[in-house]
């Protein structure tokens, strides 16, 4: 067994995890920044195409209170106001910090350029051209990390459980994927920054790493999850023709800059039938657009591959080239000429509003256990505005790092011993003793993704959700109680640990979705259309003695008066 010890352990090296590590190191802590993949390359941050919402007032006058008002409105009454306020109030600090680190935000006439995005009341989103926001942010953050000696970066380590002693987090255990060795990481405070759960769905815009690891880690450690029924589908994910080397959510920036027309199979614009007319501008919010596309397909007016058409054929070639430069050549390599043809798009799993329940210091109800970024639930309520995900990652990451550092400095060494972590370590002891897997774990992942896409998508019914719950139980049996043995990047073993988390997290989504008998934001029940005032509350999940338990909690009150 390989043993490591730090003041602050950060799990996940995307935008939130890196900001957390930098903040904790700045406050004098020794930090271990762990990722199951490469540092600063996996996760969602690197995939971001364009917008980062922030009330800078560079493009036009703005104030974080306006940003907050839009965020709360999009959240349909379910946002945790303290978290939403933290996001909006602190985003300018983090965006300026990245600017000072030379991320390269797009500029125009001596000021940062801010684009309008649906749901915002004004031009508010900074970006890096061309579709380069995520890669530029990741590169910038990696460069900062590399300068800080107090941060040890360790990739290829899969964290399998948080170690808890006397009700407090004392570290974590996991697998070093390259060697297969068990790793025990003792720490005074622990931050979960593992991102969301998009991998639960067949078509998704996230990376392979986003199977809800952090939600499962938090639950099993005794923390609560909130708002798990709210999975955001990105309405215009690329569907056809098959395109490689590009993120399926890349059409969003095209719409920010050029509008574009969303058409059904008859060539008609249809958004106005669902309450939002477009008239050349991109104002359609994600939940309405997703609904509209699904309904058009259902009515037999979908595109051949089962989505809608997105057309830029009315935009002159020179304008396309000016707005997207080299991206136009990458499209050409995929056989796509936007001046001549539309593409097909359809909703795709994109982001999770739900997540680990934390206070305004990002701490869970388990002392010393923090969360940051998409792993956190509550800031965005029932629907997230475009551009808020990266702001959330940066702001919550910095806040979690600062709070976790303060905690680490206030306590003596973590009360770790191997006995504390015995059940978790036993699971890892199967490395050499484990039996062969009874089923093809990779096939079970595919089955789970199909099950979730077909029955727990944006449009839900009691019957489908119940069916999903039953089949999740079957998948749990197919998984078996113990992982297969194996070393040296053993994918069967890795799949087992992934499925263990994915199945647990899928259950939380389904249970919360069954219970919420109304339609709100990203949770649309075909059997309960319409938003009900009595459902203006959050649902909370916890894990007690091997069983999930679901309860209701009133939406938290405002942290302070917000005008």
């Amino acid at each position: 067994m390989i043993r490591l010890e730090s003041d602050v352990l950060v799990i996940g090296a995307g935008g939130a995890g890196i900001f957390a590590a930098i903040a904790a190191a700045r406050d004098g802590c020794r930090v271990h920044l762990i990722d199951r993949s490469l540092i600063g390359r996996g996760g969602a941050t690197v995939m971001a195409q364009m917008t980062v919402a922030v009330a800078l007032g560079e493009q036009c006058p703005d104030h974080w209170e306006y940003h907050l008002a839009d965020t709360l409105k999009a959240g349909r009454g379910l946002c945790d106001p303290a978290l939403a306020q933290l996001l909006c109030e602190n985003a300018p600090l983090r965006i300026r910090e990245l600017d000072a680190w030379k991320v390269g935000w797009a500029r125009e006439n001596g000021h940062l350029k801010q684009a309008f995005a649906p749901g915002h009341d004004r031009a508010r989103c900074v970006y890096v051209d061309f579709l380069n926001t995520g890669p530029a942010v990741s590169r910038t953050l990696r460069a900062q990390l590399n300068r800080i000696d107090a941060i040890r970066r360790i990739g290829d380590v899969l964290i399998t459980d948080i170690a808890v002693r006397d009700g407090e987090a004392v570290g974590a255990v996991g697998v070093h994927l390259v060697s297969g060795e068990t790793v025990a990481l003792k720490a005074k405070s622990v931050i979960i920054a593992t991102g969301g759960l998009t991998r639960l769905y067949r078509r998704n815009s996230g990376s392979q790493n986003m199977g809800g690891d952090g939600y499962a880690l938090a639950l099993r450690a005794g923390a609560e999850l909130v708002d798990m029924e709210f999975v955001q589908f990105f309405p215009i994910g690329h569907l056809a023709p098959r395109m490689i080397g590009m993120d399926p959510i890349m059409w969003d920036p095209f719409r920010y800059k050029l509008g574009g027309r969303l058409l059904n199979a008859k060539g008609e614009e249809f958004a106005d039938r669902y309450g939002q007319a477009e008239s050349g501008n991109y104002v359609l919010t994600r939940d309405v657009a997703t609904y509209a596309i699904f309904k058009e397909v259902e009515a037999g007016r979908g595109s051949p591959a089962g989505g809608a058409y997105l057309s830029f054929a009315h935009v002159p070639e020179a304008e396309l080239r000016h707005a997207f430069g080299p991206v136009i050549d990458r499209l050409a390599k995929n056989g796509i000429d936007l001046t001549k043809m539309p593409v097909e798009v359809a909703p795709i799993a994109h982001y999770h509003m739900g997540g680990v329940r934390v206070n305004a210091l990002m701490e869970t109800r388990i002392p010393n256990l923090f969360a940051a970024g998409e792993a956190v639930g509550g800031a965005n309520g029932a629907n997230r505005l475009s551009g808020n995900a990266l702001s959330e990652a940066f702001v919550f990451g910095e806040r979690a790092g600062t709070a976790a550092a303060a905690r680490a400095k206030s306590r003596a060494a973590a009360g770790w011993n191997d006995k504390t972590a015995a059940p978790e370590l036993d699971l890892l002891d199967t490395r050499t003793s484990g039996a062969a897997a009874p089923n093809n774990m990779a096939a079970l992942v595919v089955e789970l993704q199909a099950l979730m896409a077909d029955n727990v998508g944006p449009f839900r019914t009691e019957a489908k959700l119940r069916l999903a719950l039953q089949r999740l139980e079957q998948l749990q049996r197919d998984l078996g109680p113990l992982p297969a043995g194996g070393e040296h990047y053993n994918m069967v073993r890795l799949d087992w640990f992934d499925l263990r988390n994915m199945l647990l997290v899928a259950q939380t989504v389904v249970l919360a979705a069954i219970e919420r008998k109304e339609s709100r934001g990203a949770h649309q029940r075909e059997d309960y259309p319409g938003m009900l005032p009595e459902w203006e509350l959050n649902q909370v999940l916890s894990w007690r003695e091997g069983k999930l338990s679901l309860s209701r909690a009133p939406v938290r009150p405002n942290a302070q008066a917000v005008t």
Partner: protein, 112 residues
């Protein structure tokens, strides 16, 4: 069924023993990537095939580097084609398992 089939000759094995070549016939639709094919093999024929990737399609993570017919490629941007394709791990990196090599920068490894 798909009319197209790629015959993938894939190098298997770890740094400890002799490697072997295993052949998989992979049906595909025009446009599918090599990574699509490798993922199909894992879910359908052989889940033990080791291959690393994280972003799947965006060419953002840069993890799926391997060699096709002796040339370094990203599996996510290389398209499948009819006939033989020879897939081997990166030749200039330490082999971990099958197509997985030690690609992390040295100071980001657990065991340096």
């Amino acid at each position: 069924m798909s009319k197209h089939t790629a015959r993938l000759h894939i190098q298997r094995g770890d740094s400890g023993g002799a490697s072997r070549i295993q052949i998989f016939d992979v049906p595909f639709d025009p446009g599918n990537s090599l990574l699509d094919g490798l993922r199909w093999i894992r879910a359908t024929l052989d889940p033990t095939l080791a291959v690393r990737f994280s972003c799947i399609n965006a060419n953002a993570c840069k993890e799926c580097m391997m060699e096709l017919d002796g040339k370094v490629v990203y599996a996510c941007t290389q398209r499948l084609r009819d006939g033989d394709m020879h897939i081997t791990p990166l030749g200039n990196k330490a082999l971990v398992q099958d197509l997985v090599t030690e690609i992390a920068p040295r100071d980001e490894r657990l065991l340096r």
